[in-house]
């Protein structure tokens, strides 16, 4: 019982010893907390490497450690890879190359005189290997046709070879009057002694029996391999194994409900009593009164809790005494604590985040909450275990003794049965055409060699090999495509010296790749560039219709500056009236929402509730029409047509109040210089008349993960204001003169315009067009026309991935579809976000312009010619690009290979809880990672960076930036550099760069993107898009007449 155990309240302990023990528990929990998911509140979703905790070790090691710690899949399943082989997504050539490079020198080593190691491994990869427990194999051997028919994938050649040689082998043995193995003699007597009467299938049966018995005999004599015994650190696992009862179910139920209430950011009307006293005190005050209504196992908990609170011992000491009562040895403690926290990892992880990043939410939790959480959890587990042992064994011994009884009762199979090893060799013999004669000649040493060889290539190794080959095919093709395309650009097209009509700067996001490609196809005179989508403007921003500042910059930065959107004097009054109206309406709306859940409010709302049928039916059946209607009637609530950014600061120090808002001219110039350097725009001839800076974001309904779809460089928010702010800064004459001091000459006639691209409904909005001088009127008009057409085509390309859209849809219907999609409350896939991302090209756009990358590539502008000798610009670009893109790629990887443990499972039962995350149903762990509908079309491969630079530059950057070095050297990302002038490329192997020596093939040519992807829903190979002869003004005018500008209107 709890009270008679050794709670050290009566024993005085030397304070130093006590402090030490407390400290040791703290550090235990601290270390374990690193294993918890580090995803913060869902409103600010930042993609990150799911296995960040293991980032210090190589990728393949880390996924195996992940498997051990989280029981999560490291790769796709073997069956899935085989299916990819059958679809030729994985080629035999790549498999062979991976196997050869794994084995190195040893690949030609001949095993037991039968086959080379490489041959054996290849056969094990090419044919499905049956394996399983001894009982399963018994069934396969005795009940299936494993011993009467060759494995279905065995080649004709091997089959004939085996049967032919079996015939002569039996003949020879008979001639020499030697006996066969007893099992074979028995079989022979069954079939009939006269071999001449045997038909083909008799021979097949006989040959297979011979092989099987020889293999089994050969392996049985070998020393047995030890199998790792089952080890359970947690008592819960021991009892789950012995009794089938899971105490986690009952304990979790209590904790989920309490964590939900404790972490609540304001959902429920009544707050948890005594929340401000902390987790432990609040839990105690809630649960310390015994009641009949408690489940039986819980009945002693109130007493234990009151004793805990009255004894005045710290949570750490409580953990310590729980550990000793549960009989956890000193050596197992760390593992035990990790596993216990991971039993409700989502909630524990959220507590950890809210405790360590206290600025993330309105109601953070005090430090030490995770320790209190663990203390409570252990007390609950203890009582649940005690109840369980009483129920099942009806004895009243201490948990530790019951536990040791239970542990003893677990029977360990400590060796791998000979059947398993034999059966693998038996299958190999068939695939490789080994004959009974050959096998019967093998010595025990050779059998051992053979069996060890097969053991050295277990399922997990095979999956790793498949995975490497899977990635290799795409990465090779990508690198060659970039080289081949840049070669073509170098040699075939003459470099135009003409000034571009306009320039469009977007985020590096993979979703903008297709938009840029379509824009360049529509308007070949334009140029596109890309840079991290906060455009070097890190700020807290408050829109005119917003009430609060939000940070618009990458998650790792903390902005110093504040920017607000203002309405001018002209519209101030209208704005005030509308704000008031909006406030009243939303107050009413809020009242309806909350009051309809109460007693009296509910009655009123219920009786008038029939009115809800209208929005209900309209929203589900006609989402686009409903959205348009709402927009139409919402016009009197909208912001005035003209607003401006309050961007310039008049006081010296930045802050959120009047006068302190904005940037100083020097700071603006600094931002502008930084971004122009990254873009490589330094000389006057680099700039066109019009530079459109385009932020991006996404909006969708019924999507708790909405933030994950927005701009990653703005920490999951919309990047429009950053683009607008940058354009305003770069247009300022004072800023320009300061920028000129940094040797960047912006021509006087160059104007910057901010814009916002919504990647979900493909709408495109310009900011501050009124400020554009009349001289630019024609340019902006042609840009608008081109963008209008590009977004239509972009929507069309996106629609091919949506199963609900016909492949023959027209661009006009496609844009209508994506508009409806973003407004549809029943849509579980508003867009596919970063799914299928696999590549990041850092270099000048001209090398990839016209290369069909299938929305799979992040593109980052970089011109090595404008960089200094230290490659400081490249370092700056990569220190953002590599961690961010790797985070996205790896999060997609892990959520795809194991959507249950690393991912968030299916979206369908998701339920927002405490305003910080989602659960499945109403009582589950917090689900972190990406949900299955988001990743279903993703190919889980690591991202490859193709950088226009030199090996030396990259090696020095890896040394200078620890995070880049870790990701590249640990193979978390693949890295290669290329030189477009010489068409050379180097691939990084983890230590150094190896030159790529392959002949480059010409890329297949297409005349437009449409031609590349038309009629297919699958991933598309690389193509060079060669511009057809110009007659493009025709279709443009046509589509314009259908809908004048549409959503591309100015604001």
């Amino acid at each position: 019982m709890l009270q008679d155990s050794s709670i050290p309240n009566s024993v005085p302990i030397a304070s130093t010893e006590r402090d030490q023990r407390i400290e040791s528990i703290r550090s235990l929990v601290q270390r374990a907390s690193h294993l918890l998911p580090s995803q913060g509140p869902i409103e600010e979703f930042v993609h990150h490497n799911t296995l960040h905790v293991y980032e210090d070790r190589p990728f393949h090691q880390a996924v195996l450690d992940g498997q051990k710690q989280f029981q999560a899949e490291p790769y796709l399943s073997e069956a899935k890879y085989r299916q990819l082989c059958a679809e030729e997504r994985i080629s035999d050539g790549d498999l062979k190359a991976v196997v050869a490079s794994d084995l190195g020198e040893a690949s030609d080593q001949i095993i037991a005189g039968l086959a080379t190691r490489e041959q054996i491994r290849m056969e094990m990869l090419c044919h499905p290997i049956l394996d399983g427990s001894a009982a399963e194999l018994q069934w396969i051997i005795h009940e299936c046709n494993a011993l009467t028919r060759f494995r279905p994938t065995t080649s004709e050649e091997s089959q004939e070879n085996i049967i032919r040689s079996t015939r002569s082998w039996v003949g020879k043995l008979d001639a020499a009057n030697r006996k066969l193995l007893p099992e074979l003699e028995e079989l022979r007597s069954k079939i009939g002694h006269r071999r001449s009467t045997w038909n083909a299938s008799d021979w097949e049966t006989f040959a297979l029996h011979s092989l099987w018995n020889l293999c089994l005999n050969g392996v049985e004599k070998l020393p047995r391999c030890e199998e790792k015994p089952l080890q359970f650190v947690r008592p819960r696992d021991v009892f789950l194994h012995t009794t089938g009862e899971d105490i986690d179910r009952t304990v979790n139920e209590i904790l989920i409900r309490f964590c939900g209430a404790f972490l609540d950011q304001g959902f429920s009307d009544w707050h948890l009593p005594n929340r401000e006293l902390g987790f432990l005190a609040s839990f105690t005050s809630l649960h310390s009164h015994p009641s009949k209504g408690m489940p039986p196992w819980f009945r002693d908990v109130p007493q234990a809790l009151s004793e805990l609170s009255s004894s005045g011992i710290t949570p750490e000491e409580s953990i310590e005494s729980s550990l000793s009562r549960l009989g956890i040895g000193e050596a197992d403690r760390e593992e035990f604590v990790s596993q216990t926290l991971l039993a409700l990892g989502g909630w524990a992880g959220m507590i950890n985040i809210l405790e360590t990043h206290r600025n993330k939410v309105g109601r953070p939790v005090p430090h030490g909450t995770l320790i209190e959480f663990l203390a409570i959890r252990l007390i609950l587990e203890e009582h649940a275990l005690r109840h369980l042992t009483r129920e099942t064994t009806s004895s009243d011994g201490s948990i530790a003794t019951e536990l040791s009884h239970a542990r003893k009762s677990i029977v360990h199979r400590d060796e791998i049965p000979a059947e398993r090893r034999g059966f693998i060799l038996f299958q190999l013999a068939q695939f490789l055409g080994w004959t009974p004669a050959q096998l019967s000649e093998l010595s025990p040493e050779q059998w051992k060699e053979l069996a060890d060889e097969a053991d050295s290539f277990p399922e997990i190794e095979r999956r790793r090999t498949f995975h490497e080959a899977y990635e290799r095919k795409y990465h090779d093709a990508a690198l060659k495509a970039v080289l081949a395309h840049s070669h073509r650009v170098n040699h075939e097209t003459q470099q135009s010296t003409q000034r571009p009509l306009f320039q469009l700067v977007t985020c590096i996001d993979d979703r903008e790749e297709s938009f840029r490609r379509h824009l360049e196809e529509t308007e070949p005179r334009c140029e596109t560039l890309s840079v991290a989508g906060f455009f070097s403007v890190a700020m807290y921003y408050r829109g005119a219709a917003d009430s609060f500042f939000q940070a618009l910059c990458p998650g790792v930065m903390t902005p110093n500056h504040y920017v607000v959107e203002d309405v001018g004097y002209t519209f101030e009054r209208i704005h005030r009236d509308r704000t008031r109206l909006r406030r009243r309406l939303e107050r009413a709306n809020h009242a309806i929402h909350t009051q309809s859940r109460t007693f009296f409010g509910g009655i009123v709302a219920g009786i008038g509730g029939s009115l809800a049928t209208v929005p209900l039916v309209a929203r589900v059946l006609f989402p686009r029409l409903t959205a348009r209607t709402r927009e139409y009637f919402g016009a009197f609530l909208r912001l005035p047509p003209v607003t401006k950014l309050q961007l310039e600061r008049y006081q010296s120090d930045p802050g959120p109040t009047n006068g302190h808002i904005g940037f100083s001219v020097d700071e603006m110039a600094e931002n502008v210089v930084r971004m122009l350097q990254e873009l490589g725009l330094l000389k006057p001839e680099d700039f066109s008349q019009l530079v459109i800076i385009t932020g991006h974001g996404s909006s969708s309904l019924n999507n708790p993960h909405e933030s994950a779809y927005c701009c990653g460089a703005c920490a999951g928010k919309r990047g429009g204001p950053n683009a607008r702010a940058f354009a305003a800064m770069a247009n300022d004459w004072r800023v320009r003169s300061k920028v000129a001091e940094a040797n960047i000459q912006i021509p006087d006639d160059t104007k910057f315009v901010g814009a916002y691209h919504n990647t979900c409904d493909d709408s495109f909005v310009f900011f501050d067009l009124d400020r554009l001088p009349a001289s630019h009127r024609n340019t902006i008009e042609s840009a608008r026309v081109a963008i209008e057409e590009a977004r239509r085509r972009n929507a069309h390309e996106r629609c091919r991935r949506f199963a609900s859209v016909s492949l023959t849809v027209s661009p006009q219907d496609a844009i209508r579809h994506v508009e409806a999609r973003s407004q549809d409350i029943s849509q579980a896939r508003p867009e596919y976000n970063h799914a299928t991302n696999a590549l990041c090209v850092v270099g000048q756009r001209k090398w990839t312009r016209g290369l069909f990358l299938d929305r799979r590539a992040f593109l980052n502008s970089y011109d090595p010619a404008t960089d200094d000798d230290d490659h400081s610009v490249l370092l700056r670009i990569l220190s953002a690009a590599i961690p961010v893109c790797a985070g996205i790629s790896l999060e997609y990887y892990f959520s795809t290979v194991d959507s249950k443990i690393y991912g968030a499972g299916s979206k369908l039962p998701h339920n927002i809880v405490s305003m910080i995350g989602v659960m499945e149903g109403t009582s589950s762990d917090l689900r972190t990672g990406l949900y299955q509908q988001m990743t279903e079309i993703h190919e889980p491969i690591r991202i490859q960076f193709i950088i226009e630079s030199t090996p030396e530059a990259l090696l020095s950057i890896m040394d200078r930036n620890e995070s880049i070095g870790r990701l590249c050297r640990g193979h978390w990302v693949k890295l290669s550099v290329f030189n477009p002038e010489t068409s050379e490329a180097f691939v990084f192997d983890g230590n150094e760069f190896q030159p790529l020596d392959v002949s480059l093939d010409e890329l297949p040519e297409m005349t437009s993107s449409l031609e590349c992807y038309q009629g297919s829903r699958a991933n598309i190979p690389f193509y060079s898009i060669v511009e057809p002869p110009r007659h493009r003004s025709q279709p443009l005018r046509e589509s314009l007449s259908e809908q004048q500008f549409g959503a591309a209107g100015a604001r």
């Binding site: 009862e245 209430a261 950011q265 959902f267 809630l286 309809s596 007693f599 509730g609 029943s826 149903g921």
Partner: protein
Amino acid sequence: MNTSTILYLLGVAVVLCPTMLVVGLGLPLLFGRPLTESTQTRLAKGCAYLGLTSAVAILITMLITGIREVPIEFGNWVEVHEEGFHFHLKLVFDRLSVPFAILSYVLCGTAGAFANIYLQGDRGYDRFFILYAFFMLGIIVSTVAGTIETLFFGWELVGLSSALLVAYFHERPGPVRNGLRIWSIYRFSDAAFLVAALLLHHLTGKGDFDILMGEGTWPNGTAVITSWQALPVGLLLLLAAAGKSGMVPFSGWLPRAMEGPTPSSAVFYGALSIHLGTYLLLRISPLLNASPTLSFAVVVLGAISAISGSLMARVQNDVKNSLAYASLTQIGVITVEIGLGLRYIALIHMIGHACLRTLQLLRAPSFLHDHKAMENAVGIRLNTNDCAVPKTTSPLQLVVYRFAYERGYLDTLIDSFLVQPFVKLFRFFNECERSWTEALSGTKPDEQRQPSADLELVEEMV
């Protein structure tokens, strides 16, 4: 064609549509050739539209002609003369059933359209839609049932399909366990229903509502049985209604029903399934008129449910749970209204509540989106506006909070007062049977096998 033929045909169409859907979706599945997703959608859409049109047409015809009740006979399906038992299939269209049928069609149709996109490409798509069809058939049959046995038939279909929809994600243990628990509670209330039906047959010789309710159309009927006869029947039916509507003490199943995909929790639990209990009470309202005691019991049960529900809704911190308990509150209020004899208000309240709740549940995943929009417009952080509970908690507040937080301890109460005695009783029977068999066959007790593992498994699930 005269009016009654038209009404007859329309009435048949109302029930035939979901039947066709069940057959159309079910048969191909049965033969292992599932239809494509788009065909299933078209079928579901067609049936919902046709059924809705027929129901609306009936309403219009009834309004024009002034007919207040349209009975449609399908005759006796089973007759056991000696025992005086018969299974009488009969539909009634009146002021109660027609609005409710229209509501069912509107909500089912919307849910079908929603689910079609929401579940697209999901492995369980076919399963969802066949259960959806069964649910629709069940709800329509129970709505327009003219005899208690017809109502029971629909009632069972609703129960079965709802429980299976809760267990939709059957690869996880949680939903399966919760589905089973809901199914057990349904069975319990079904038993009460069945006993009531038999009692009714004994008392009146028939299960027809119009005979039981005597003269006059709904809601003006007067029962032909006496007050003391009405009480036991009414109480049993009240128990059945309480189980189906998740009223106290059965409300423990409400949050568990939220395990399924959002559209099924929204429409089936938020809107239709949960109102079936109150619909039953409305249907038997002449019984309530006959017995003031019964009316009083209904009011009390409703009031308790409403108060508990409103307390519990206040402490929930996730969207679906808080809506589930908010529904319970209104179900309680509707029950009180029925007990007080406010039949039309109850009907309007029911329909309005069902629509509102469906909309709220379907939009539940937008909560954060909406919340942000509201905060921006209102200009204050809505969640720091905490005035409901002051910082220092008084003992009374703690008690109330604890009651709401523990959901009235109802799950454990049901476990210890319903499940445990039940299991014990049947274990006892099992024990008796074993000893008799031993005595008769002369085998020794130790040769008997252990109590079967399945039994324990089932208990664990419950």
